[in-house]
Symmetry: C2
DNA sequence: CCAAAGAGTGAGTGATCGACCACACATACC
DNA sequence: GGTATGTGTGGTCGATCACTCACTCTTTGG
């Protein structure tokens, strides 16, 4: 029987995609400095040595993960904007916020963003990636929503507040101060 | 000549203070995971071994640094509130924001805060310190300003936006998106 | 069927990490 | 002066880090 032989090995391109997807979970808890390439390899189901076949360095790997996160965030905002149609800036921004809240109901994406910002201070390559990511994000939000500077700024300020809430797991604490910080922030 | 013999050795308490002050600069760029105890020791002018005489572990040291940062932030806000007298919530919050902006004109304090938030995800002791710090800060801002939930939340949201701006060194980039994010944010 | 190219790994490399100990020196107290 | 206590360091520990190399197995194409 001449059955169509199934491939056992993935192509390098497929593996790179797998690594990018799974590395988000690996980097989420301990960030760039605190996460080892062994942990990334384990999450992707490959050997640590092969990580270095797919990416030239840990830094390049992390930068690729960060860029991948920005792509997903942007795709999520596009979905939100599309759902809102061409209505008022307030409505579009609200729909975007809602889509973003759904995207990060699993916190990993958000945590990687936060760790990337922290690592951006000392690692120029990461800083460039974060800058480029936010540059595209800000301009996209401005264009798609039609909001003014103040509205766009508030949109990102609230997003940053989400980072703080998620990092502290403030949802788990029932107190006046957490209710103040999380007021009006959607959570799925 | 019986001159008053000068002490050559510091007391452990003085050394601990020195370490806390200087460790802010050490932890600022690479955070909890990325900063070595050797770097902390060098910044304080003592041997790495002695760091472990003064603090039981790297984690306990970092927690102490974070708590020290919160104390300084709170003192700064108190100064701002005092300068504003007992005027309207908006005026007090503005004065606090101004005092805070002066405090972090040197970015180290702000960067440590950001790194602490990031490390809080995986290190329970750090998370507790960050939670406690923000709990006190939120309640203090609420009480001293007399602002409502929305005003207090916005105060901290803008603060978080400051973190992002500082991490990316967005001031150094002259572009529409950086102007949007940094609009109205004081900087000394 | 065979050879070139690609996928994938075990077993390391030197360097560096957090932590620790034995020991030297300074101070305080009697 | 002597001794108990506190300040401070050099040297080193096992573990672990990012990264590399030699090698095996699979797939492709003629």
């Amino acid at each position: 029987m001449q059955t169509e032989r199934q491939r056992q090995l993935s192509t390098a391109e497929e593996r790179r995609d797998t690594v990018l997807r799974t590395a988000i979970g690996a980097f989420a808890s301990r960030g760039y400095f605190g996460t080892t390439t062994t942990e990334v390899a384990k999450a992707a189901g490959i050997s640590q040595a092969y990580v270095y076949r797919l990416f030239p360095s840990k830094e390049a790997l992390f930068v690729a993960v960060v860029e991948y996160c920005f792509v997903r965030v942007r795709a999520s905002l596009e979905g939100g904007a599309a759902a809102a149609g061409g209505s008022s800036p307030e409505a579009v921004l609200s729909a975007m916020g809602d889509a973003y809240a759904r995207l990060i109901s699993d916190n990993d994406l958000l945590l990687v963003q936060m760790h990337a910002q922290a690592a951006a201070v000392s690692e120029p390559a990461i800083r460039d990636a974060v800058r480029a990511g936010y540059a595209r994000l800000v301009e996209y939000v401005r264009g798609a929503s039609g909001g003014d500077d103040r509205q766009v700024q508030e949109f990102f300020a609230v997003g940053m507040l989400c980072h703080l809430v998620a990092a502290m797991d403030a949802d788990k604490v029932d107190a006046p101060w957490t209710r103040t910080l999380t007021a009006g922030i959607r959570h799925y």
